[in-house]
Symmetry: D2
Subunit: 133 residues, 4 copies
């Protein structure tokens, strides 16, 4: 899905966090990133903001896979539960729970090294025009 | 509050996002950061992960101001509502809603350029040992 | 605001919980209810579902005060933090954080006896047609 | 699990909503209730507070199945996404995502007639003494 890759490439935040798209399917997207000193909290594990960013982007792009080509999506609210320290290579999977014209309910999960379940999340995405604002 | 500044300095993520502590009070902390190409989403506004990271860290440090010196806090859950695109200089204010031995209820707000209310958030922090794990 | 009172009167749940509208203003609504044996949890305090219901309805009607006459609103997501046991007469205040055509960001707080802050909440309301479905 | 049934029977709110325990397993509980005029919103579907109450109680009792006999649990925060109108017989399933001494991460889902997915939720439960306060 070219448009997802294009949009991802324009997210400076994803580049800064060392994240890359691993999988783009119909309503499901996976993003991976290694926890590093640049994305850690004070105890050396991944910052909650790293885990959130990966989960949020994976969920947003999962929503985008179901949108018309002239649309983008933005996050309107996102709730994350952190289940274990984020260590090693993180895999964030976003998926669409309920598509809609006006808003899209999404979920995401993040796993770390040894398949530890690091986080689970629910959120809401809103379609917007793809023209940069 | 020396310990807050020490802990903040050890958060690689805060450095990566260009964030700095602006205010540390009893149960209230403010963190600021400029939106930049390195922390943007695909349309050039600040990524939700930037806004989240600032809100989460401000709330976490607000909780830490009320803890014993041998304690740290970690986020166990955080819910953010994004009210407007994040542009310009962001100010995130975290505050304690209800302190507790086992968990601390926190809130945070983020404002952007022209005092636009960018985000509001609720979360839960948990005290942990200050020894790096 | 007649329409708010009409809609409220049609909410069987509000009647069942012993709730009544106390204040209807532009973007702000307050609902009150006494905790009773019929709405308690196993320890005699108000059930989280009572506190949620009051907060949710207050926030929904706060949103409705800003809508065109042929619109209703429904909750699409709601997040509540419970700060203290719900006892006595509860006052739930809902308010609009950001109005919108497609979704309305709302907040709510609930206080109990002795002005104890029982709960704080954030949510999202969506406009729908006022015709019963 | 006798204690779950005892505690459930003492929840006036569950009785008021016409709810009953359908299944109690290790870390998983299901509660059912019919939407009725007494638990409806203004358009005749189940009130968000009904769906929340069932999800919250199912999740709380799922947590309780993993606790020592002298403990109860209370909800500290709960976030629900409403995916479809609540109609007919609702089944709420609560389950433990991560047990813990100080807090328990839980999830819940609610289905309605024709197996429609009505809601999904994440929450946090906190162990407390079983002595009524």
């Amino acid at each position: 899905m070219e448009r997802i890759r294009d949009s991802f490439a324009r997210q400076g935040m994803m580049h800064t966090l060392g994240a890359r798209l691993e999988h783009v399917g119909e309503g499901v997207v996976r993003i991976v990133a290694e926890v590093s000193a640049a994305t850690s909290q004070q105890q050396g594990a991944g910052h909650a903001g790293l885990t959130f960013s990966l989960a949020d982007s994976a969920a947003g792009y999962a929503a985008l896979t179901l949108m018309a080509p002239d649309r983008e999506v933005v996050t309107t609210e996102f709730r994350i539960t952190l289940l274990a320290p984020a260590r090693g290579r993180l895999i964030a999977e976003g998926r669409v729970l309920r598509p809609g014209r006006r808003l899209i309910a999404v979920a995401a999960d993040v796993w770390g090294e040894d398949d530890v379940h690091v986080a689970t999340a629910l959120g809401t995405m809103v379609p917007v025009s793809a023209c940069p604002s």
